[in-house]
Structure formats: structure tokens, C-alpha cells
Amino acid sequence: MHFFRIAAFLIVSLNAPLLMAREKSEPLAVAENSSVSPVSVVRVNVTSQPYDFLRPWSKRAPFQRRAVGAVLPGSRVLTTAEQVANATCLELEKPDSGEKSPATVEVVDYECDLAIVAPCDPKFLDGFKPLAVVEPALGDELAIWQLESNGTLLKTRAQFTTAEVAPYPVGDDSFLVYRLASALQARDSGFTLPVVKGGALAGMLLRFDSRTQTADVISTPVIRHFLKAAAVKGGYVGFPSAGAQFAALRDPQLRHYAGLTNGNGGVYITRVQPGGPADQAGIQAGDVLLAIGNDPVDQDGNYIDPHYGKVSIAHLLSCGSSEGAEIRFKLSRKGKELSVPVKLTHSDPSQSVIESFSIDKAPRYHIVGGLVFQELSRQFLKEWGPEWTKKAPERFLYFDQYQDELFQNDPRKRIVILSHVLPSPCTVGYEDLNCLVVTKVNGVELKSLADMEAALAKPMDGFHRFEIQGHPGEIVLDAKEVEGIESGLMQNYGLPAMKRL
């Protein structure tokens, strides 16, 4: 049902910009003088095909999207990670001649939403003028670069109004974004576009709200950090963090409780991720963070950035140093000041119990006699459509939102679920079971779906026993019958394989 709605939505969003473009013969945007040669950008054409997490053995219908990528030194192109997500076919296209080259994703980081794409033909970008990266100042007039369908470069003015830390679209991370005010029009390349200052790259457009004419832009410090990490030999490692959460410390009663007697800065540490950098440095929940390095932290968790002014310390931690760097935290604990070195590291999202995103990866599944087992992921929950946070099974939403708290001391690496049942002669009476947590199979605890295979190798008295958390407790299949119907089941439901691990 909801698949249909998604499809309909896509059609609308693809068509609308074209209609708009036709209606407005006079662009609202003011083009800069067009003396700059347009050979610093290419089209990035992508065919995407995500997996269907409700039928994890199959993929959804493929769809195309286009973007404008920024040409970087070394015959590389910078675009957003979302643009290349689940790509099955990736091409670069020259704006003027329309010449195309297949391309590959060299480095991608979904958390900061950036990707480096390289053409398969190494000479494809010869003659292009690579863009340098520049850091704009608040108030600067920037330009957002688009391509007309005939290849002409369209530059729309944009005023740089605000720099602040905000959530990025994939994953749970927040990084510095630039907010621009701009009357940007829709073109056939969507809103994945370079932002330029004086002929140098000043950001990549992250999202554009046509109603408020506000553009959110991936900021230069994030791009620089990404490019630097991408150049490191030995593999890309994502952005560092401290593994701690904090709350504002404006409340005088809370300040008093935390042992602060004077001053008005500092934030209250509310959570320290077990085993994370802050934990290893000995920082505890209830400590007050007063300064990072030489930068004092104010009562809301901001510091004074030399370039952008008041900005959240999240930016200082993610972009102010590199992976593995050591940085001093000045703390107050029960009124006593202390200073500890914290070694910032990247927290790998694929290590969380419920993954916040599953892109370019085939979902794991295991079908036993018609019972479909999977690992719980946020992507699975997102299959409930645009309103998934309200419509997906509430227990799983709760697990996802509070996973840090719920699974902190849980030996499980993943939550194995019985997602649904493909009715078969083996599953009579189980047809309506769905979205249940499976804890054990044949007495073996499931730490992830990978444990299922070994557990199934040892049936108990000829039966496979699946222990369900809560009602109905346990369900049973006949091991021989399961084996016997396998080929029939695959044929009946068109399953390419009974498992993918």
C-alpha cells in the first residue's frame, strides 16, 4: 500500500520542477556575468535501486536522478553521498557536449553526505578547471551553480546568513551547515548542486526549501575534513566524536546542584557512551564541561569560532581535529576543576545494535519453512512510508529510539526478528505472526542473524524451536519438513535464495 504512495510522490516531485521551469520564462534569479567558463562542473547521472526491506530478497524499482558535481583536482568529482546511494549505474556527463563516461564511487561517507566520484576514463575530465575549496564569511554573496538543459551554466545569487550545527539527512549526526537565502529555481538536476564563491567551491547544497527560499549547504570545514580523510592512505575513517551528550546549564538550581558557584558557562554531561572516547578519558555523567582545548564552552554548549562566531562545540569536535587526535577537556566535578585528555575517535554507525542507515548493503535474511527472519534496522522501519515514525511497529520504534539505553549491556549485536510469514504447509497456524523479536533458536541465543545457521544445524528431536520474546513464546517447525518444502517454497514465491548472510 505505502509503496504505491512513495511511487506517486516521486512522480510528482520529478514533474513539478519541469512545469515550473516552463511557466517562468523570466528567471527570478540574477545570473552572474557568465564570463567564467562552465568547465568546472559535470552532471552526475545516477540510477538507484534500493533493497526492499520487507522483501529482503528483492530490490525496488530503479529510478534515475541527476546532480551537478564539482570537479576537483586529480580528475575527481565531488557530489553528495545521497546522490550515489544504492547506485547501480553511475555516469558523468559533460555539460556542453553531452559526452558521458561511466564512473565509480571512490569514497563515500553517508554521515557527512559527501562522495568522491571518479570517471572510468581517466582522461574524461582533461581540460576541466578543478575548483579550489574556499571558506566563505557570514554575509558573503555566494552563487549556486546549476546547469540548464542545454548545458549553459546558471548561477543564482545566495546570501550567506547563518552558520550552525544541524542534523544531516542520513544517519544521526549533526555537522556545520550554512544557511543561505536564495530564490533558486528548479532545473533538471535537482537540488544537489555546488555553491561557489569567486570561482572556488564554498559548499554543496544539502536541501532547499522553496517555500522559505532557504538553502542548507554542507559547509566548507566538513568538505575539507572529508577530503583530507579521503586522502589518507590506508582507508577512510569518518568524523571523530567524543561519545558524550550534554544539556544546557542555564538553570541556576542545576548549576548549584552541579557544584558551580561562579561563572555562567559550561554544559552538563548527561550521557557518556560506554567504551567511547569520553568514557575512556574518565568523564562521567554529571560532570560539567567548561572548555575544550583553549575554547571556553558557554551555558548552551557553544564556543566562539574565529570564523563563524558562536557555534556548537559539536563542530569543534567533529571538524576541529582529526581522527585519533587528543584534545583537552576542562571539567568541573562536584565543584572541583580537572583537565583530562580525550582521544577523539569515529563512532562507526554499523556497530550499533539497530543500524541508523543501510545503504549499498543487501539486507540479511534467512527464510525457514516460510518464516522470514531479519535483523532489525531503521531502514526496515522506514518501509512503513513517509509516516514511518508513527506507523511502524511501536515496539521496534521504541527499540530504535532508545537503543543506547536499552541495549547498553545487551550481549546482542543485532536484534533478530521474525518479520513476517510466507504461508506454506510448514507454517499452518503461524500465518499472522509478524514483527516479533526472536531470542533463541534450538536453544542457541541469537546475537545476530549469523547465529541462526549453526543453530538450525542442530534440531532438537527433529524440531526447530524458535523462542519469541513475549506472546506466543515458542513456535516449532519440523526440521525434515522444512528441508522438504524448500525448493517448492522458492519456486512458489520466486525466492532467489533462502538466505543472505
Binding site: 538550581q253 524451536r465 513475549g470 513464546g473 519438513e481
Partner: protein, 483 residues
Amino acid sequence: MRHFWLCLVLLLSALPARAISIVEVRKSLVRITNTSQEANYRTPWNPGAVGGGTGTGFVIGGNRVLTNAHVVCNARFISVERENDPKHYVAKVLFIAHDCDLAVLSVDDPKFFQGTVAVSFTNQIPQIESSVSVYGYPIGGDRLSVTTGVVSRIAFQPYAHTNADSHLAIQTNAAINPGNSGGPVLQEGKVIGVAFQGFSGEVAQNVGYMIPVPVVQRFLKDIEDGHYDRYMDLSLTTFPLLNPAQRRALGLQEEGGVLVGSVMSGGACDGMLKPGDVILSIDGHAVQSDGFVELDGERVEMPEVVERKFKGDTVAFHILRDKAPLDVTAKFEQAWPFHLQASEYDVKPRYLIFGGLVFQPVSRDFLQANPTDNLRVRFLYNAYVSDEIYKDHPDLVVLSGILPDPVNTYLTGLRGGIVDAVNGCKIKTLQEMADALAKPADQYVIQLMGEGRPIVMERAAVDAARERIKTRYNVRNEQNLSE
């Protein structure tokens, strides 16, 4: 003016082939007008809004009037009238059973009952397709209305009054409208049920429900000792045993039996049955593999056996545990005590105000008045029984609101959180919270569930703010701890 009916439903009546005379029925029929006051869960210190409506009742033995609980719930003033008597008489609720939507009224003035005829009940469930007549005052009219139809279906149905109970109900196609609630449904001159709910025309056509005689009789028997003890409950879940492999694995040779999926701690079967047991029979009635039993010649769901039980009764199970047969007997000591998922009536909302922070226990009524997107609150509410949340949190005490004042001005973002501890003491009930906040201390540290910042309230500041907040926000009492 509101006319009572539930969930878009109402009652219907039909003229039986050999009806008692309309004159007889008129003598027992009562029109009820209730002025009610609904509890206010949004500003619980305020008395609720006054409303009301009309419904139907009928005279039963002992100079009493039987009607629906939802006709006379939250009553502040009830008046009753009879056909052809212009006088309005004052009535009082003698007993009210929200779980089966029935109530018994008394009328002080003995003149009210002069000339009335107590109706008699049939002893059996009517046959499908037999005709029935519904008597009452639909849409508030003050003259008797009669509709007729047939018995369409007899099955377990949710009772909309509490949103949490299910009992046997008889479905009929006779027109049922607001105001019919509490009226008698007759067949061959005897009452076969009490009209109580139906669907609006937008949902379904010609679907009305009556409370059948066994449910009415159970209620009247329960109150014989002067107290309504409520329905007893097995407090367990069962899973049909339709899968052949599962049946073999459980050692089942013959037909029948259902699997015990979960047993709620504190319920009647706690310690007697456990998950994995197979219930083969209940009180001697064989349990079929889909969970039905045969009772009085009808196939009914297993809990129907328990429907006729009273506090202090027992229920006998023949079960299979670890492939060995076993007989166990469970005793009903008390009705299921946790009804936070049920709509409640005739209670005062519980709350506690401390430094302008309003704390309330989560309940169906609370959530209806204070809808929330807070996933923790929603999940713990919905999983309250299935995950036995009640064991650690008989009350889920939530910071439901903040009456802004300098003492709490930095706490606005914390609204909606559930209280975990006060000054290090875990909080299980609103009463415990009140006790913890009454203990002398310089400051009160209220930790909400999850890993956020604590709320710190200094005693002196709270004391200084008390009268100011009470006056500004018109709060007469800072707390109500009992319903």
C-alpha cells in the same frame, strides 16, 4: 442535550410476534436524564465541565431501575420519568459496573414505583434470526419508541464504555439510536437483553448490540452482597495450536488444546500456569485447538467460561506440561487491578503539583486529554500489561505540564518525561512521589527516565513560589492522590 449511545452505537427493539401488551411495557419503561461532570485530565485541579444526556431504563424487581453504566456515569444529578406521569423523580446510583456497562438505580419517592411492573428476564440466549423488539427513548424524545429486527449474531464483543472489556453481546439489525441506551429488548414478552451500543451509519448499517441476560444476571448476582466485585479474569494469553509440527513437539496425540503464550504476574493463573503449557480443558469443557469451547450447545471463546465466575470462585484446568498431564486449579482472589488502559468514570483525576510542575499518572483518559508523540510514554502505556510494566511502575508518573513561574522557567523542554527517581528513591506510584517530595530536604532532584539532565528544585524556592502559583493559576489543591 446529549442522548446516550456508545461508540456510534445504540439499541434497537422489535415487536415480538406474541409481545406482552405495549401497556405492560410502558409501565416498566423509564426515561433517564443525567447531569454529569466529566473529569478533567488536562487541568486536573479543575472540576470538569458539566454536561449530560438522556437514556432509557426499566424497572426490575426490588423497586430498582436497570440501565447502562454509560447513561448514569459521572452523575451529579439524575432524574427519571415514567410514561404518562408528568413528575420528574430524583434517582440515585445504587451500583454501577463499568466493565459490563450496567447500573442499578434507586428512586427515593415510593410513588414512582406505584403501578410499575417489574419485567422478567428470559433464561436463555435467543436463537439467531428470531425477532426482537427494542423499547426506549431514542434521540431524546419523551414518548416511547419501538423498533424491531432479528438476532443477527451472538459473539464476544468489545464493550465500548471502558474500551478495555469484552463480553458476550447480541447483535441485531433493529434500528438503534442514541437515547436507546439502557432500554429493554424483548422477545415473547420477556427481556432478552439491554440495548447499549452500535455503529454510526458511516461505519456499518443496521448493526446494534444488546447486553445479553447472562451478563445482566451476573451483574445482579454480583451485587447481591452489597458490593460490585467486577469481572474475574484469567490474565493470560493463549495461542491456537493449529500447526501439526508444533502439536507433535508438544506431545499432543489428540485434537484440541491451546498454548499458553504468557501469564501475567499477579493474575489469577500466576504460579498455576506457565508459558508453554497446553490447556486441554477448562472446568471440564474440552478446549478446541482454536481456543473455543462448547458451552450450552454453543461454540464460544474459552474466556466465556470465566465470565460467569465471581470473586472467590475457582477454575479447574486440565493441562499438558512437558508432555505430562496435570490438573491445576486457579482461584479468583480479586479482579485484575491494573486498569490504566481502560476509560474510567466516577473518579477524580490524580495529580501532584510541585513548584509549578504538574505530575499525573498515565492512563487512557490522561492520554486522550494530553495526546503525546513521546515514544517512551506511548510504548510503556501500550506495553503496560504485555511487558508487565506494572510490576515496577503501577503508575507511570509523567511530568504532564508546567505552570510557568520563575522557579521552573528553565525546565520547559522536559515536559512529557516519566519520573524515574526523586532524591535517589525509585518512584513507583504517584503516592510515593508525593511522599518523597514531602520528606524534608534542601533540594529535590527529580530524575526522569532516560539519560537526560535531572530536575533540581530547591525547597526554599518551591516554598516561596507555592502561593504565587496557586493564586495565578487558580489551583485550589496542589494534589489529589486518590481516585
